[in-house]
Amino acid sequence: MNSKRTGEKVIYWLMRGITYLVVVFIAYILIDILIHGLPAISWEFITGDPEKSGAEGGIFPAILGTLFLVIGTIVVALPLGMFSAIYLTEYARQSKFTQTIRMAIVTLAGVPSIVFGLFGLGLFVVALDFGASILAGSLTLACMILPTIIVASEEALKAVPKYMREGSLALGATKWETIYKNVLPYALPGMLTGAILGIGRAAGETAPILLTAAAFFLPELPSSVYDQVMALPYHLYILATQHPEAQKILPMQYGTALVLLFLVIGLNFVAIILRIKVRKKYKW
């Protein structure tokens, strides 16, 4: 009996060890990039232009480019995703059509990012003739993050209890008035959580914008949505793999990686905090 107990203890510890190995790996990535990236970060690095094809100077145009892409993405994806979620939770009944929509959302969530790139290239860049541009890149990314936003918005809507709707309907409000005035305000923070998660994903993706929007170096900042942009993830990719002196410019690479990581994880973190706050605030 006792040897069985010790045997079980050993197995528990093994399981714990395996789980924490993953934790250690994550911590190692974060710490490695933080330690090597921090010395590269300076005011000039954040606000300056790249010099000598990225070997010196800063990454400001890449930060700005990523910002433009992300804003374009969210402006398109957030309203569409929200409306789509409102339809699914408030209007749709169990039907073949609804099931097909759900199937499509799952499919969309599983499409590889590079296939979104091909799709964006075929539709937005070539067929609609937007060229490689902020517009084409944002629309491609918007398609990619749509499922994230729909799923999060649906969850937020479902969390609003039924009696909120029934009370309003009983007082004579129409269905839309009920949704607009009595459901949406309470679901909005939860929907924003999804939006932020989507932004985080859009900011970090490289493959879709590789084919639809990104350029490694541009002498001027973009002036319209039809211009190409530099972007943080693409900048890091080029510096790390295509640069003739890749080994020598490690600090620049680490600095860019840190800024990108900070941006993406920061956004995820904000989303998590928001989610916890919302849950605490609205306890039905």
């Binding site: 169990q94 499509a104 296939v115 970090g204």
Partner: protein, 293 residues
């Protein structure tokens, strides 16, 4: 009154069209992949795709055989899955059945971070840290191998496998556990002989979803697998995956050329692979009531 009804109808149809947008996008994706790839069938001919050599830029004869790219993707995916499975499943069991509530509150969001790390950052880390490590460990000429890519991709699949397996484990009825414990089985025996088998279909689905993520991953593999389009099942050689091929070559092709069309065929194969993996796991998860119907 009639005006109001009209308004309600308009709103409904507007929302409905937004709702069907996902279907439209999926259809458009298939449509445009095929549209761009289609002329390839006439010339140089669809048979070209089944050849064993991928050499799209050549003065003598261009070769568009997809076989080495498919084997590259398959090799990396299988390796990554094999590495990810023990971590993902044991981690899920540990978090849901063994860890204390406090531990769980720390572990879950921390592992979520892994899912949030941009693939280009993971690839960069792999290039600088993991590749030299693997090179030294196995005494290789280069650290840019299928194995290096697989190790990194495994860590991308782990959060997916863990969180969905955990849901599957949680949805096992408590009565199963109680019955097992009442019959005198220890907690550990209950976990591995009752809970895990009961959750097995969900766990399998989680692994398939993880595989879907791995097959479609682009930047990390492009940066660390060496990109040699050769047919090989040796983890210590450089390989080139389908995703990396598209990403690396699409920038340099003329729109509408044979090479351009061939890359869209790569995209079609890729899309079909991930689509079927996702479809099967979706069916399994739906059957066991783990997602909305």
């Amino acid at each position: 009154m009639n005006k109001q009804r009209l308004k309600a109808k308009i709103i409904k149809y507007f929302l409905q069209s937004c709702g069907s947008l996902s279907i439209i996008i999926v259809l458009l994706i298939f449509l445009f992949l095929f549209k761009e790839a289609f002329p390839f069938i006439g010339s140089p001919g669809i048979g070209e795709l089944f050849h064993n050599i991928w050499n799209p830029v050549s003065f003598q004869k261009e070769e568009f055989g997809l076989v080495p790219l498919i084997t590259g993707s398959v090799l990396v995916t299988i390796l990554a899955t094999v590495i990810a499975i023990p971590f993902g499943i044991i981690g899920a069991v540990y978090i849901s059945e063994v860890a204390s509530a406090k531990e769980r509150e720390f572990l879950k969001p921390f592992i979520e971070i892994l899912a949030g790390i941009p693939s280009v950052v993971l690839g960069f880390f792999g290039l600088i840290v993991i590749a030299p490590f693997i090179k030294d460990l196995f005494g290789l000429n280069t650290g840019l191998t299928a194995l290096t890519g697989a190790v990194l991709l495994a860590f991308m699949a782990i959060p997916t496998i863990m969180s969905i397996s955990e849901d599957a484990i949680k949805s096992v009825p408590a009565a199963y556990k109680e019955a097992s414990l009442a019959l005198g089985a220890s907690k550990l025996e209950t976990i591995w002989k009752v809970v895990v088998p009961a959750a097995l279909s969900g766990i399998v689905a989680s692994v398939m979803l993880g595989m879907g993520r791995v097959v479609g991953e682009t930047m990390t593999v492009m940066m660390v697998t060496g990109n040699a389009p050769v047919i090989s099942m040796n983890p210590f050689t450089s390989v080139r995956t389908m995703t990396a091929t598209i990403a690396a070559e699409m920038g340099e092709v003329t729109i509408g050329s044979d090479h351009y069309m061939a890359l869209f065929w790569v995209g079609i194969v890729l899309m079909l692979m991930t689509f079927s993996l996702n479809l099967i796991s979706y069916r399994v998860l739906k059957k066991y009531g783990m997602i909305d119907k």
